[in-house]
Symmetry: C2
Subunit: 315 residues, 2 copies
């Protein structure tokens, strides 16, 4: 298992700069008053393809040697990673295949195709997904880009915290949502190198608290299909992300579904930005752990803004 280093992050940043946005960091007087902290919101909802995943996907795609790249890349993800890989592959002009359950929303399939990706459908089971995916790779020779358990992907996600620190300087804490742990791992990788005293918090839905239980147990616990409005955060940790979580995370904080929806609603209402439910989990945990953050400079990563505007969780 290769553990990416900060050199990989610096290289990733140079490599992906032409293909990603240097997203802005927004502040909010309202939320500072409400929390007693000084919050810096890193807006990856404004990122290409609508989420931070464009960073890792672009690093994987543009890091491939030409001969390998020509065979294309593939992944199984009906969420932001599939979309981002399609975006990055489209920018490089190589084939991208995304294996998705045939039951996934048509809008998500259309979005992948909109960026030039090819959707291959499987049955909605792990067995079918793995079989179909193996077939795709065997046929095409495509390079598998895992959504998070991949050193190139983590090095790419790590450029997010790097930009934030470059733009706003020292931070007492950084908080990001945790699903498979790609963004948190990237944040650990960057911050342990350039701001080693900064505390790193992972924010997780109570309904999908496998990372929290893993953190407490000292080994990976994976749940089967948890249900949460924060649909980007249902997947379990894997070896590489567990390495970073177990070594660098200060704590994993939890929020209920209602708290997540309320934080999401408040963010839309007061900051006038569209974020997806997963992005609201950190603010939800800050609001219920006021003492932990009061008086502190806190970086909050808003991970994405891909949401079905016709089906909002507070309706």
């Amino acid at each position: 298992m290769y553990i990416p280093t900060f050199d990989d992050v610096a290289q990733a940043h140079e490599r992906i700069k032409p293909y990603i946005h240097r997203t802005p960091v927004l502040t909010s007087r309202y939320f500072d008053d409400l929390t007693g902290a000084q919050l810096f919101f890193k807006c990856e909802n404004f990122q290409k393809a609508g989420a931070f995943k464009a960073r890792g996907a672009s690093n994987a795609v543009f890091g491939l040697a030409d001969a390998l790249a020509a065979k294309g890349v593939a992944t199984h993800s009906s969420g932001n990673h599939g979309l981002s890989l399609s975006y990055a592959g489209g920018r490089r002009g190589i084939p991208v295949t995304v294996v998705m359950p045939r039951t996934a929303p048509e809008a998500k399939k259309a979005a992948v195709r909109g960026y030039g990706g090819r959707v291959v459908e499987c049955e909605p089971s792990t067995t079918s997904r793995e079989a179909v995916f193996a077939e795709v790779v065997a046929e095409s020779g495509a390079d598998f880009v895992h959504p998070y358990n991949d050193a190139r992907v983590i090095a790419g996600q790590a450029t997010c915290s790097k930009e934030m620190v470059e733009d706003i300087g020292d931070l007492d804490a950084v908080i990001a949502p945790i699903g498979g742990g790609g963004m948190i791992s990237g944040s650990c990788l960057t911050l342990s190198e350039i701001l080693p005293k900064t505390k790193i918090y992972a924010a997780e839905p109570l309904n999908a608290d496998d990372a929290c239980r893993s953190f407490k147990a000292g080994h990976i616990i994976a749940d089967d299909a948890p249900e949460t409005v924060a649909d980007g955060l249902k997947v379990p940790l894997k070896e590489l992300t567990w390495h970073f979580v177990s070594n660098h995370v200060t704590d994993v904080l939890l929020a209920t579904e209602d708290e997540i929806i309320e934080a999401m609603y408040l963010t839309w209402q007061r900051m006038k930005i569209v974020i997806e439910p997963s992005s609201a989990v950190p603010l939800a945990t800050i609001l219920k752990n006021r003492k932990l953050f009061e008086g502190k400079r806190v970086g909050v990563i808003l991970t994405g803004g891909n949401v079905d505007l016709k089906k909002l969780p507070w309706m």
Copy 2:
């Protein structure tokens, strides 16, 4: 009738700087591809109190001599101007009275009170509003700050285009929504001075096309209570705004309700920002008048982001 000058704008800008945001200008590859133009979105939805109206209100409030200011300010507006005047008055620590129909949504009354403003209710008729408002002014000696037919307010709104030009340079055209004409007048005031070749377009709902008909007729036409989703744009032009519209506007472009809602939806979906229906009218007219804007650098003023998130027009 005093016509504000660019000197007034420069003074207004200095005066209000501590109380307003210098809002960002965003771009969108998606909308550039869709329109063939280069669009620069000036994001007044991120402005204090959620709309550009904070500029004019702050200029009026902070321009008052102490003795006058002590008596407070008053207006009749159930929309963004009432909110913004409450915000500005609150920052200066003077009384603000907003006369609103008792039938106005409770959320709007609560928002005014949230900024420290006092709500005085009237019946939902012009007669009652004027009678109640006259009483408020007679009792308190408060200074009347009209939502748009006021030189101080127009000079304040004019700082929006000033910032945009300072930040992004030359523009072939600027487009903004038109209701009473405060923002358009401010844009005319600034641009006719600093970028006199720039074309100025006003964008209006077809359902409330009084400014368009006025523009064509050569005199003010006022409609009685038009119905449109763009609820900030129902009010008619007045002498001062008519002066600017009739002298400096290139054309008034119209959009249907469906076109406005579609442009609003697309803006939320692709730019991940919350804008109110009125703010979407310019983009709606650009999309249907492609040839007018193709190949041009166009400033698009997104006027505000105050919207009921529980009642979206596409639901």
